[in-house]
């Protein structure tokens, strides 16, 4: 068996008083999709933020290709695409400018692909409209256009389908599958029921500190 891409060892998260989750361990191979699932407030976002390195876990570690991400961020940051609850889209800039800026700070984003990426998320013709004039879903789409211009191995997506219409959801799902089949790996949280055709594992947070993986 090849060594895992991502390894999570004994992760605990504590916020204020209570444990969100405790001693969570799993690993992810190349080509896998992991859906994090659970009721509201179960700790999905907290887990994603710990995996991205934005939040510190109270215990345990996250290892990317064997390296602790807390020790060496730069290799990890080059290989990871993170998309959080907030989109990272500046409302005064246009979609084009926003993506250019994102490409400038992330080496894994290729700015020459921006026009085709915008086309893929059905935003052709909106390149030059300031984002505050776009609808909620269109704003999310600008952010999601990154999935079409990235060569990062590891995608970390927190509720990517928020505000996206049904057709858009289907399109994103197939993009994730394509990424996995190319050897990438994906972790996403969502309350949507993913289609059966999408082969994946699920990590269900229970909301009482325990979890199930299958």
């Amino acid at each position: 068996m090849s060594s895992p891409m991502l390894q999570v060892v004994g992760l605990s998260c504590e916020r204020d008083d209570h444990d969100i989750f405790h001693n969570l361990s799993f690993s992810l191979q190349s080509g896998e999709i992991l859906q994090i699932d659970g009721p509201n407030g179960a700790g999905k976002t907290s887990l994603i933020r710990i995996l991205s390195g934005l939040l510190q876990s109270s215990e345990g570690g996250v290892y990317w290709q064997g390296e602790d991400i807390a020790e060496d961020r730069s290799a990890y940051n080059k290989a990871m695409l993170y998309l959080g609850h907030c989109t990272g889209i500046n409302p005064s800039l246009t979609p084009l400018e926003n993506l250019q800026w994102l490409a400038a700070i992330h080496t894994h984003l290729d700015s020459t692909l921006i026009p085709s990426a915008l086309k893929s998320v059905a935003l052709e013709g909106y390149e030059d409209v300031p984002c505050h004039q776009l609808s909620a879903g269109q704003n999310r789409r600008v952010s999601l256009a990154r999935l079409y211009m990235s060569c990062a191995t590891f995608w970390l997506l927190d509720e990517p389908f928020t505000a996206i219409d049904r057709q858009g959801v289907g399109m994103l799902e197939s993009q994730m599958q394509r990424h996995a089949s190319r050897g990438g790996c994906v972790i996403l949280t969502t309350h949507h029921v993913l289609p059966e055709s999408m082969c994946r594992r699920t990590l269900s947070l229970r909301g009482n500190g325990s979890y199930v993986i299958n």
Partner: protein, 215 residues
């Protein structure tokens, strides 16, 4: 950097605003204090410097706030560019849009406050060296309060005490030249502050941002 400038250029009035604030505050004094030229001339260096300081401080609050709210800050932190570098670029563009025009406008205000002509050069020079330090130090404060509600007022409390030495030497330089003395000493100290702040402040700011995001 480019994005920053573009963002600012988007609203052409944005970069006029600190200027107009500066102008207005300076104009408040003759109204509030007294219009006598002799008195005004005496207090002019202090007023110009205080107004410049407040004008710099005013917009500082928003330096990282919008990036924090729309998630750009998270992207910067998970990005592959050095954070301190991006911050330096941001502060530089902030200074280009506030400190620099302020410095250019200063002679006009000095004129309005009947400051003797001989001191204009020193006034501009002191602002030119002093305002970048103000921006750099302010950025640390802005990074610390970015996640907080009503951070703006807290920012002032955190940053003003740190501004005081710069204020003293800045206005001191002008006052010295007003009294016919050499201002090189004060200007050199301002330069030393800048030399210290230039490499260190972005690092402190980066650390502060990391902490603020960990919420």
């Amino acid at each position: 950097m480019y994005r920053e400038l573009r963002l600012a250029a988007r609203r052409i009035f944005d970069w006029l605003n600190p200027l107009v604030f500066f102008l207005l505050v300076v104009c408040l004094f003759p109204l509030a204090v007294s219009p006598e030229p002799a008195l005004l001339g005496k207090i002019a260096p202090g007023i110009v410097w205080v107004a410049a300081l407040l004008a710099t401080l005013l917009g500082m609050d928003g330096l990282f706030r919008s990036d924090f709210e729309d998630g750009s800050l998270e992207q910067i932190i998970v990005g592959s560019q050095p954070i301190a570098l991006l911050i330096s670029a941001k502060v530089l563009s902030y200074w280009l849009l506030t400190g620099l025009p302020l410095t250019l406008l200063a002679p006009l205000l000095a004129l309005m406050l009947s400051l003797p002509v001989g001191s204009y050069e020193v006034l501009c020079l002191s602002l030119l060296i002093g305002t970048p330090s103000l921006c750099l130090i302010g950025a640390i404060g802005a990074a610390l309060v970015v996640g907080l509600r009503r951070g703006g007022v807290l920012l002032v409390l955190l940053v003003l005490p740190l501004y005081i030495p710069i204020l003293i030497f800045g206005s001191g330089a002008v006052t010295a030249s007003l009294q016919g003395m050499e201002a090189t000493g004060q200007l050199a100290i301002l330069g030393a502050f800048l030399a210290l702040a230039l490499p260190l402040a972005p690092i402190a700011t980066a650390a502060a941002l990391r902490i603020s995001i960990n919420g």
